[in-house]
Symmetry: C2
Subunit: 149 residues, 2 copies
Amino acid sequence: MTKSDSFTQAVRSWVDVSTQRSMRGWSHHAKATGLSMPQFSIMMQLYYRGACGLSEISERFEITNAAASQHVDNLVQAGLLERSEDPHDRRAKHIQLSAKGKSMIEKGIGERYRWIDQLAEGLSEKERVRTAEALTVLTEAARKLDQST
Amino acid sequence: MTKSDSFTQAVRSWVDVSTQRSMRGWSHHAKATGLSMPQFSIMMQLYYRGACGLSEISERFEITNAAASQHVDNLVQAGLLERSEDPHDRRAKHIQLSAKGKSMIEKGIGERYRWIDQLAEGLSEKERVRTAEALTVLTEAARKLDQST
DNA sequence: GCATAAAGTTAAGCCCACTTAACCAAAAAG
DNA sequence: CTTTTTGGTTAAGTGGGCTTAACTTTATGC
């Protein structure tokens, strides 16, 4: 019990400090680019899960088609997204990141994670190896949780 | 270089999966309570850093006094915050969580972290000890970063 | 004691995300 | 071939978070 508690405590502390950090990075990047939270989220999602139709976006974010369409439209006009006709279904649209959009997201990711490199510098080689192993175990376990849920 | 990269990669993956998790918990709690993001943040901050005046809130969130005052007012009317006069400075207000607010936040924290307990169940005793140690090291290092910045 | 600064509040207004409702075009169903 | 469903857009309106500006009250500096 007490063992499990100290585990819980360690994870909580780390989750707190790391989310705080990565949020700070995000908000910095947000101000620099002028992107709003939902805009950024949509682009991130297109970056990681690839191109998709409009209704997939509204489903994933649980908003109406209308809202999704407006966001996409703004991003298209900003030159960050490309919206084309789906050749197999002429009703549907094919939405993907433009080159500009892709590079912006990659820059954002770099920004958001820069503190991790700084973190690495404060650790010994041994510590780096050991913590990397531990985190891999945790990440795996968390992914299993995702699948079972 | 490659060593540092695998460290970076491990941390990134874990940060991704854990922020996603804790965000999901948060958004669930948000819908249940009807609290907005800034409202929730203000209450969290009062929970962790204790009672304070209004201008401290506006400083911490980088918003104007007017905005902070409005948020606080809403939360007071919802019975989640108590706003009283500071005995030492009659201009200032003393803002703190009400009993109701405190218990709501504690419930929220529990909600947000429940997945960590599930995570613990999927690990052996040995893994728990080792990962807890690793995370403690990381948390420490991150806190040092905060101080130096 | 008087001018100035500081803590908070209130009101008016802006912007943005979101919704509903009406709509068009293409595909699927019968 | 008609009807219905699906994918998407547009317009109008709502609500929230924020700002500026004007104001009240209390504390501070000289």
